[in-house]
């Protein structure tokens, strides 16, 4: 059981911030994902939580008690790495038992715990093998078992699926999530893969350039990204973002498209752009619908068959391409002119100077 609080935690290397002061509370039993591109500070943050990396400022609290300067072994957190870090000369059983032996636990108690976790992870049949004989997925299961067997207050996982192929990653993703649902141990999970973050996280902490961009549930970061970075980074493809000018209640885009701004957005938009007219119109690929009376126009640049659906890539003006998710039967030859409408509930606006999202609620 663990609540982890980070208060103004930061990491500097000389004058350079690897992590800018960060406040975050990870609740007991929560699965929190630190998400961002490489170099954004997510792994450094995780390593500071674990104690493998010293903070250069701020405090870390575990269940209300300060652990900022405690040794990693005194924090009662188990770390799972991308590379399994298993002992190649020990059997799977010995690898899993190792942390308990190190604690000086009795043989019977160890056996009992090991038997428990191998059943949870369904690796009992591997107990006698050496890690070198195992497939990547099984090696990672053993690494998870070794973390699980300690019954730590929290799990810290650093891209544990990063070394696996796409197919295995998908099934292991579900396994780890199932494990979490069954055990409800506080988990902090680092990844650069937004799909993994969306699929697994109770909450996602999106990071970029050493800074937190947004903290929210998958629904929050997907539907209400706080800025352009999050809008682009989350989703595959990311949110469509089209430059335009706001005047007379509409957004005008190059190529003479005119998008009538929904009533609920009129005032917030006018308020937040403080006198300037540049704005960025954002919509998810599934928010657009091909229809002859749509207010947006473009030419089909490419049509992608994705199995269950089609993605239309539409050139709306001078190389500005938007992506529309559509039904399987909607395929068009390249160059076909089409019109589309945007679901007024799913349109978003951004201020191009600050890159921040315009908030509908705040301005009410």
């Amino acid at each position: 059981m663990a609540t982890i609080q980070l208060s103004k935690v930061e990491k500097k290397f000389g004058d350079l911030h690897a992590v800018k002061p960060l406040d975050l509370t990870i609740n007991d039993g929560e699965f929190v994902v630190l998400l961002g591109p490489s170099g954004c500070g997510k792994t450094t943050t995780l390593r500071m939580i674990s104690g493998l990396e010293a903070v250069t400022g701020g405090r870390i609290l575990l269940n209300g008690k300060e652990v900022t300067w405690k040794h990693p072994s005194e924090r009662d957190m188990a770390f799972v790495f991308q590379f399994y870090a298993l002992y190649s000369h020990l059997s799977v059983r010995q690898n899993i038992a190792f942390p308990l032996q190190a604690q000086g636990m009795k043989r019977e108690a160890i056996d009992k715990r090991v038997n428990e976790v191998v059943d949870i992870l369904r690796i009992r049949h591997l107990l006698r093998l050496r890690p070198g004989k195992l497939a990547g997925g099984d090696q990672q299961r053993v690494a998870l078992a070794r973390a699980l067997v300690r019954r730590p207050a929290a799990f810290l996982m650093d891209e544990p699926l990063g070394a696996l192929d796409a197919e295995l990653r998908e099934s292991m993703r579900a396994e780890i999530k199932n494990l979490h649902i069954a055990q409800h141990a506080t988990t902090v999970y680092v990844t650069h893969d937004q799909i993994e973050a969306m699929a697994m996280g109770d909450r996602i902490v999106v990071m970029s350039k050493a800074e937190v961009q947004q903290v929210g549930t998958p629904v929050d970061v997907y539907y209400n990204p706080s800025n352009l970075f999050v809008a682009r980074f989350i989703g595959s493809p990311g949110m469509n973002l089209v430059k335009g000018k706001f005047s007379g209640g509409a957004v005008r885009m190059a190529g003479n498209d005119r998008y009538e701004v929904p009533p609920a957005w009129q005032k917030p938009l006018a308020d937040s752009l403080d006198g300037r007219d540049e704005v960025i119109l954002g919509f998810r690929p599934e928010a657009a619908r091909v229809t002859p009376d749509g207010s947006m126009a473009g030419e089909v640049y490419a049509t992608d068959m994705h199995g269950g659906h089609t993605v239309l890539h539409v050139n709306i003006c001078e190389g500005e391409i938007v992506h529309i998710r559509s039904d399987r039967q909607n395929t068009y030859p390249m160059g076909t002119p089409i019109r589309f409408a945007i679901d007024p509930e799913m349109v978003r606006f951004f201020n191009p100077r600050t890159e921040a999202a315009v908030r509908r609620e705040a301005a009410r």
Binding site: P37, A166, E167, E170, R173, A174, K177, N178, I181, D193, I195, M198, A199, M200, P218, V219, Y222, Y223, R232, F233, I234, G235, S236, P237, G238, R284, P285, E286, Y301, A302, D304, M305, H306, G307, G308, H309, V311, H313, G319, I321, R325, M334
Partner: protein
């Protein structure tokens, strides 16, 4: 550009048979994809077409002419690799001009300039012409590598996983551009990948390779909607198709322990067989015939993967948007019955109608 035909190609290495009786052909202007897992023989096929590797038996022809004895240079194909293999100290311009300046071609400089500029415009890298390639990002480098193939105006493009070193966002963007470019240029392309999404989204037609053999050939629609074997069915589509052991009982198809029961199709089904259901064809519906418990939800944004348990049977369902279902919920669902797949004990699709 060219029509290419491979006939009964077999290739053995000392310890393995890499290709066994591989035949396929593609037309002028076609984007043809070889799809398969690691070790399926995709790259070997590509190298044999290029002339970098010699087959043990079988023939390759281009525009009706046998090319088996031609050297790689004589075949006039351009290769794009996963690794960009650019000259790091040369500018983008010189990298692109390099193949044209070779003693074999000795293209005049004014023509080189025209070709390079036209290629860089198409690839949107005109602004990079004076840069050294070492200063470029991965996506830019791969554009230059593709540009270097384009300027040669070869008869055939051979591409070996050119996008797999790029991160997800970039791969997506370049995929669309490559496809657009191929269609506007009408260039004949043989493209190798292990990524089923790349194959489905880019190909005019696909040949699926497994363990050195062609398992199925067809359009993306054929491969996805009518997979010839369980291997193909599981290879394409994410999340993976549900494959269920089923049996025939008096005009219905049953899946043991799940409560799933559908009218038997007009197919010659054996007593026991496998039934395939794509996750998007399992649809939550309050009035649905079948019941299940939600065991896990994976919200991906544009869609949500629901892990269901129908009785003892785990099922995957793919629903649009951020689903409202929660772990532990009892739900009802329907199955799109016209989209069911049936495979016999030999793992082959059952297509023959019942007599």
């Amino acid at each position: 550009m060219s029509q290419v035909e491979l006939k009964n190609i077999t290739k053995r290495f000392p310890t393995v048979t890499a290709l066994q009786d591989v035949s396929f052909s593609f037309e002028h202007g076609e984007f043809f994809v070889l799809l398969g897992p690691t070790g399926a023989g995709k790259t070997t096929t590509l190298r044999i077409v290029a002339g970098l590797e010699k087959q043990d038996s079988g023939t390759i022809s281009m525009d009706g002419q046998n090319i088996d004895t031609r050297t790689p240079a004589e075949r006039d194909v351009a290769f794009v690799f996963q690794q960009y293999s650019l000259y790091p100290t040369m500018t983008v311009y010189d990298n692109l001009a390099f193949p044209l300046r070779s003693p074999l071609r000795k293209t005049p400089e004014p023509e080189i300039k025209i070709r390079v500029e036209s290629a860089t415009e198409k690839l949107r890298i005109s602004h990079l012409l004076k840069r050294k390639t070492a200063q470029l990002s991965g996506g830019e480098m791969q554009r230059v590598a593709i540009g270097r193939a384009i300027v040669r105006e070869p008869r055939l493009f051979l591409m070996d996983e050119p996008l797999s070193n790029l991160d997800a966002k970039l791969r997506e963007a370049l995929r669309v551009e490559l496809k657009h470019l191929q269609k506007t240029q009408g260039s004949t392309t043989l493209f190798v990948t292990h990524d089923q999404i790349e194959a489905l989204t880019m190909a005019d037609r696909i040949a699926v390779l497994n363990e050195g053999e062609v398992v199925q050939q067809g359009t993306p629609d054929d491969i996805y909607d009518r997979p010839a074997t369980t291997f193909v069915a599981q290879l394409v589509g994410t999340p993976k198709i549900n494959l269920l052991a089923a049996s025939r009982q008096e005009g219905t198809v049953h899946v043991k322990g799940s409560g799933l029961c559908v009218p038997a199709p007009r197919l010659a089904l054996p007593e026991t067989f496998l039934m395939g259901i794509r996750p998007e064809d399992i649809r939550p519906d309050p009035n649905g015939t079948f019941g299940a418990v939600v065991s896990l939800t994976e919200p991906l944004g544009v869609e949500t993967i629901l892990h269901l348990k129908a009785g003892e049977l785990p099922l995957l369902s793919l629903v649009p948007g951020m689903a409202s279902q929660r772990v532990g919920d009892q739900i009802r669902f329907t199955i799109v019955q016209e989209k069911l797949h049936f495979f016999g004990p030999d793992n082959r699709r059952i297509a023959e109608e019942r007599t």
